[in-house]
Each structure stands twice: as structure tokens, then as C-alpha cells.
Amino acid sequence: MSTESVAVKAQQALKVHQTLWDISVPGRSGVRLPDSDVPTQPMPDAALLRSELPLPELSELDVVRHFTRLSQKNFSVDTNFYPLGSCTMKYNPKINDVIASMPGFSGIHPLQPESTVQGALELMYNLQGILQEITGMPASTLAPLAGAHGELSGVLMIRAYHERNGNPERKVMLIPDSAHGTNPASASMAGFDVVTVPSDAQGNMDLKALEAVADDKLAGLMITLPSTIGLFDPGIVEVCEIVHKAGGLVYGDGANMNALLGRVKLNDLGFDVVHLNLHKTTSTPHGGGGPGAGPICVGEKLIPFMPSPVVERHGEDEQTNFKLTSPPNTIGTLSAGHGNFGVLVRSYAYLRALGIDGLRQASGDAVLNANYLLKRLQHLYYLPYDRMCMHEVVFSGRWQKAQGVKALDISKRLIDYGVHPPTMYFPMIVEEALMIEPTETESKETLDVFVAAMETIAEESSQTPEVLTEAPHHTPVGRLDEARASRQPNVRWRPLETQQS
């Protein structure tokens, strides 16, 4: 065999797909622990014990190579630009990870006596305070473990509020047609009937339609600000007034908070409860799908109903003492812990690093970057809402669709230019939607490279559309057969003898 073909074969071997079971060799040793140092205790009845433990057997280097190679198949913020609308994929500062790994934070048990974790409780208390200041709301809890978890808490609180006021018949939750899917899903889990309210042609809430459904069955409205189309609804105060007048409460989905940091207080606009996505707005890493955190900030009316725990401060100076407390009419607990503390530490570090000037810088540059992309791309991609945007801009792939190229194809082709696709097909009210959120941590050079890629793609769309419809071309795998994955779900490894075709 020639030297060249040996090299080629070696290269190919590196690309061969392998699972842990392909690498496993029976008898290979993993981690060893020290032998028992206590007198031998009688073991349980064998009938209660398992005879086989069918896990793969790997050496330590096997594990390291396997997962390191896997990681190299991923895009990540550390390596690529992610213009994902509504996800706020900003830089994740490394100091936050270092601090979260300190033994005093990563090694403590949630049920330790409170006197032994005053540092952790103080951090949580301070973070509550900062989030309250940012939103202008008087109280908060860090308990929810993700945005959707925060939404569930918020709507459960609204339900508890009405029940306590003797209005359990208020069963309707209004949700805009542009809402993120978690909104109606959360409302449904809380036992509400979901009624959809349309957006008007400018992408704002249709006030007449809202008034028509704001009756005595109304429990509340869930609304995202800026909206999921990246626009600040100038009628937001009136929206809140209409809902309040009908006896309902307003829930704010804070997913797009990056546009508003340091610019406006949500409490002033009339919101009764909002959640924040710390893994979006406050830079905590996405981890491939979590962990996140979805703390909620609440107005006066809902304070007694907050989920537990809330951190309170008692005493002063040397007598200062932080405690985990339960609000008097709490909706209860949503998890066995106090919140995703490891995420909270990172968020707190980030917010302390920015201060108010940094927060305003973040929202300012985020909105500037999005508008810069709007101006540079609007002659090539249809802009359904021809007005200044906030931190994200929504284009429609409708011009390209006329040439047989879908938003999906544009997205997949961007991968060949080293850019993660933007958010596609959301919100549902925009045809062939492409939602682009650059965030403030991307440089002008990166944005210009992105614009160049989008310009090229627009040209390819009319000249060589098959380059788009067959994209991406340079990834470890191409477009995958999702129908097959749904028809014959294969969601776990099986030994060869029990495999189906």
C-alpha cells in the first residue's frame, strides 16, 4: 500500500463514527476507588441485587479522546458567530466559570445549616437586588431553573392571586400570535384556557382585538417585550392598562431583555411579573441546551404568591444574617433545590462586572448591531416590518422562495461560511422567517463578514440554487433523514443481537 493511501485511510479512520460501545473492550478499566477501610458488612439478599451492570468499559484516554473528538464536531460561541434571534448568544466570560468552580460555591450542599452558607445566600440576595433594580420590580425569587420554569411560576401565581381574591372563574390567558411556544405550553400546564390575540400590520398588539377579549373571564396576558419580532410595542402601556381594567394581570416574557438593559424599567410600564433568562441576557453559557435560569421579578400584588425560596436579609452589620424563606401564600416549590446556583453565580459575576454603564453599553451596542445588519441587508432580503428594530431583526426569505430557495436552505448554506444559522420559521406570523440577533459582543468585522456571506447567498440563490438546497457541504454529516428518525425512533444503543434493521 502506498504511503499516501495509508495516510488517507488514517484520516478516514479519524472520521469514522464511533460510540462508546464501539470503543468498549471487556475488562478495560475505568476509575478505581480506594478499598474499603471499614470492617466488612453483610450484603443484602442476592434477590435484591442486580447480577449484570451492562455499561461500556473504557480506559481514561478512551474517554478523553472520544468526548474531545465529539466536542470538535460542534459549533460554539467560543468558535463561531451565532446570530440566533431571541437566544442572545453573547460571549460567555471565562472568569464566571472560574468563580462558579470555587469550592466554596461548587462544593456546598443545599441543605447545610444556613449558618454555614452565608456567603452563598448573600450572593443570591445581592443578585435578587440587582435583578429587581434592573426591572424596577420590588421583589424577586431565583428559584425557577429556566425561562419556561419562570413562566410556569408566573402563571401559577396569577392563578393563585385570582383564587385568593375569590375569582377562580378567571380561566383565560391571552397570548399574542407571535408568542414563543413555551408561553401557551406554560399557561396550559397551569390549567388556563389559551386565547390567541392577533398582532397588527406593524407587529404591535392589536388593541381593538385585545379590548374585545378583555372581559371578566380574563386572568391575564403574557407578552414579550420587545416582541418576538424584535420590535418595541409603543402601545405597551395601554396594553397593560386594558388588561388591568378588565381585572387581569400582565406577565412579561423577558427573553428579549438584552434590548432594554438600563433603558427602561418594566415595572413602570405596568408589568406585574416578569421572568429573565440568565442564560441569554446575562451571558451564562448555553451548554448545548442548558443549564439556564429563569428568575422572576414581581410587582406588589403578587409578592405573597412567589415560589419558594426567597432569600431575606435580617439584622445589621455583624448581626447580618441571610435566610431562605417561604412567602406567606407561596405557590410552592418547583424543584428540590434553591435554583440553579451555579448559573446564578455566573450571572452575578457578569452583572457586577458590567455595572449600570456596562448594562447600557450592552443594550446600546446590541440594538446598534441589529440595526446595522438591517440596513446592510434590507435590499437583499424582504423586511416585513420596515422600521427601526431593537436587538434583533426579522427578515423574510420570501424573495428567495420565489426562486425555489427556502429559509431553511439559506440557513444551511450559512454553515458553509462558518456561521450558525439564525432562528428560522419563528415567529410564525412571518413567512420564511429568519430572525437575526447579533448581540453586543460581536465586532464590526464579524458583522461585515456575515453581511458578505448573506450577499453571496442571495446571489447563489438566483444563480446556483442547488448549492443552497444541498447545503451544508463541509460538515461531518449533511442534512439528516429526520422522517426516518421519527418513524423508527432509535433513541438508545442496543447490543447487536437485539438490534432491528
Binding site: 429526520e482 422522517a483 421519527s486 418513524r487
Partner: protein, 128 residues
């Protein structure tokens, strides 16, 4: 193959009905429906022996990116479900009016037939 054969009757919810010689009704979803759904991956059909009602939800058809309710085009007792389509949902895309049939039903109320649409009426309904 005609997109919407004239020997079938239709509903606005994109089901078709074929009345067989023995009086039973075969039911499926239309060419238009499977085209809109994309690759069908899973079907949730009513059990044999159960009753379905005209215009009431009777099951679900799932594609990769969406899921739609199936509505009873008429009322009756479910006599048979198409096992081939359960094991190979792609039949619904390949041949929605023949091999892709979903259930066979014994109709309970002949008057309900008047509510079904003809080929022309269905064609107009989907054009709008």
C-alpha cells in the same frame, strides 16, 4: 392518478370517504393534506370496535415538523384499521387514496352523507 378522485367524498378537514359495495365506508386523508404535512411519520387511529362521530376528533397524523388532528367524516363503528399504514406511515404520502387508507367504518347514520363534499366542492374549498 387524479389528485382528488371523483368517486370519493370529502370533508373540509381534508379527509376522504369511499362507500364500498357492502355499505361500509373507507376513510383516509387527501392528497392535499399529505402534501401540506410532508413526510408522515406516525398515525394515532381509533381502536377497532370504538365509535367515531362526524366532525369530532378521532385521531392524529404526525409529520416531522407538525401534528394534525383527524376528524371523523361521519359517525359509525370502527371495523378495521390499516396495519400497513401503521408500520409504514409513508404509504399515506405515496398513495393517499388507495394503499394509504386509514380506517374502515360501519356508518350509523346515512343522513350524514349529505354533509360530505363532492370533488368540485372540495377543490373549491382548498383553492380558497
Amino acid at each position: 392518478m387524479s389528485e382528488h378522485p371523483s368517486d370519493l367524498r370529502y370533508t373540509k378537514e381534508h379527509e376522504w370517504v369511499r362507500v364500498e359495495d357492502d355499505g361500509t365506508a373507507t376513510i383516509g386523508i387527501t392528497f392535499f393534506a399529505q402534501d401540506q404535512l410532508g413526510d408522515v411519520v406516525y398515525l394515532l387511529l381509533p381502536k377497532v370496535g370504538s365509535a367515531i362521530e362526524q366532525d369530532r376528533k378521532m385521531g392524529e397524523v404526525e409529520s416531522v415538523k407538525s401534528i394534525s388532528d383527524l376528524f371523523g367524516p361521519l359517525s359509525g363503528e370502527v371495523l378495521e384499521i390499516n396495519k400497513d399504514v401503521i408500520d409504514h406511515p409513508e404509504r399515506v404520502n405515496e398513495d393517499p387514496h388507495e394503499a394509504g387508507w386509514l380506517i374502515k367504518v360501519k356508518p350509523s347514520n346515512k343522513d350524514e352523507f349529505t354533509k360530505l363534499l363532492s370533488t368540485e366542492e372540495y377543490g373549491q374549498a382548498i383553492a380558497s
